[in-house]
Subunit: 373 residues, 2 copies
Amino acid sequence: MRLRSITAILATVLTCGISQAQTTQGNLADDFKPSTFNQPGQEYPQVNSQGYARFRIKAPQADSIRVSLGLGGRGGTKLTKGTDGYFTGTTEGPMDEGFHYYHLTVDGGVFNDPGTLNFYGSTRWESGIEIPAHDKDFYALKSVPHGHVQQILFPSKSTNTSRRAFVYTPPGYEKDKSKKYPVLYLQHGWGEDETAWSNQGHANLIMDNLISENKATPFIIVMTYGMTNDVRPGGIRNFKIDAFQTVLTEELIPYVDANFRTIANKAHRAMAGLSMGGMETHTITLNKPDTFDYYALLSGGTYNPEEMAGKSKPKLIFISCGSRERPDGVNNAVAALKGAGYNAVSYVSDKTGHEFQTWRRSLHQLAPLLFKN
Amino acid sequence: MRLRSITAILATVLTCGISQAQTTQGNLADDFKPSTFNQPGQEYPQVNSQGYARFRIKAPQADSIRVSLGLGGRGGTKLTKGTDGYFTGTTEGPMDEGFHYYHLTVDGGVFNDPGTLNFYGSTRWESGIEIPAHDKDFYALKSVPHGHVQQILFPSKSTNTSRRAFVYTPPGYEKDKSKKYPVLYLQHGWGEDETAWSNQGHANLIMDNLISENKATPFIIVMTYGMTNDVRPGGIRNFKIDAFQTVLTEELIPYVDANFRTIANKAHRAMAGLSMGGMETHTITLNKPDTFDYYALLSGGTYNPEEMAGKSKPKLIFISCGSRERPDGVNNAVAALKGAGYNAVSYVSDKTGHEFQTWRRSLHQLAPLLFKN
């Protein structure tokens, strides 16, 4: 992947996830409920069964509040002030299923919605809303055995600090002290950090559910900060992989192998990433062909047979995106890889864009394919 | 402790942590730096070496922004609007050392400062600021071996859900598979949740540093939600301990003992809590005298010999508060307990109130006393 395509990926981050299918409120269903990502006890924002979102913000002396979510190109959703000092409003159309970042513009200043939890995206903690998806069951919190997600602080000589990562250990990890596990290194996108895959991605719940149904081999997931936002000044075009590659392959992987019961070899190690994390996955897997045997790019570019020539074939190449992105690019790349003898799999998430519902579904598709052969 | 004293504790939560020692800006030191709890790349809020805090918020069309931090009784700090669309202002006086919650009131609406991280307090995610303390070294992130903090989801039949807790395991926990550890159950205060002790309390770093200096026996810390905020309607006076006591003693403790390498007996189990978590500790330790052998109340009431009569003596009773709270009450209670033959220890945090610096210091004092005898 070239730098050109990195910026293309980033451009799509800026488009809103609103569906173009329906833009009238003529038949608005009157079944609005609090979003599942609201703060405890907060009634707003709300979502209805059609995917519309409704907001309510108190600011008695303010003149204007706008929500960044809404139809592309129209500046989001402008709220209307009522006599009770609350601003209210509903998106003009239904939103795509799944998670969306957003913020408020209050009299020209950017603030978060006090009703919702915050999620790290766009290099800041932003408000988040969840539009209930028809397939939300696969990442629901269920009464099944749960793995743990732990924060580790690992020493990093190259950056002269202790760095943070989150480690998912599957259910039962603490019980059978002799069992060893393969490991997936899973990267977030630009503007996000190591909290994204657990908080907005529900990676742990996706794995708990798959494992409880015997649909995936239990494995460890390691999520750390990809240093994707540390590129100022100079901008994203100046991003160099070297610093993160050193942290990942020379510091984090040895720490994980020393502190967790891993199967510490290439055949039991995978790397995946979304968006700019896919770019990182692409570059590092090719730079370090003896480290990983499973590669996955989620809305994060493609591999082509030419750049892989002369290297040993990985056990799996998984490439995905949302149907509102560039599914032809994904499908064509996988066809070319298959034609060249690679075990390549494509996945296109239906009716989603460059957002977390695409990546939740991609992980759900990817996990059963890992460490099977 | 009676319910009367619970409400007394809560009342003190509402007082601001500003020092009364100096309320003039006449000799304001010009060494303002970003608070350590700012979001990545954010220059404001800032703090200076005297403990003053300075704020800068963009809201070009707003009329009024007020910061909730400031001198008590004066409604916090009113910011002044500049021609550049930014509101700025500095607290009238120096703040107490350590962590403070705050929020903004923008044209009558309550929002968080977009410059800072959020911390769960007052039953919502609030902005936080850190005033550098003279003793900040004991909770600094250092180049020492670090324990892990992991999120667990444990099954709770009594509440019919999976509940969250965070578990600190000390450095080396993953390496020696035969070693077993004592456990401290550590509770947050009213308005807070299970994230407080790690996020704003730095409990993990306090322990990492103590253990690296051989000043504390390595032990596990378990932090879960004390259900302290689930009392609406009816208010805090209607709080009943039963639901949380069941979750803690019949569900969480068995889960932790089954899933971590604990020494699963009274002699190796402690309970501590801050503010309303102290009230919970007080009640549960007395209700369940065979469960814990170390009791600690941090700004959370006291024990008296009369209520403990007829029960086996715990190995330690630790009672603390800030010097701006009721140190006489703490010291008198500990004197009475000692007089009745209890191993009781008091601690008063100098020049701090009902805030996290008191509780960080209290944990730092308490930890070396645990599991030593």
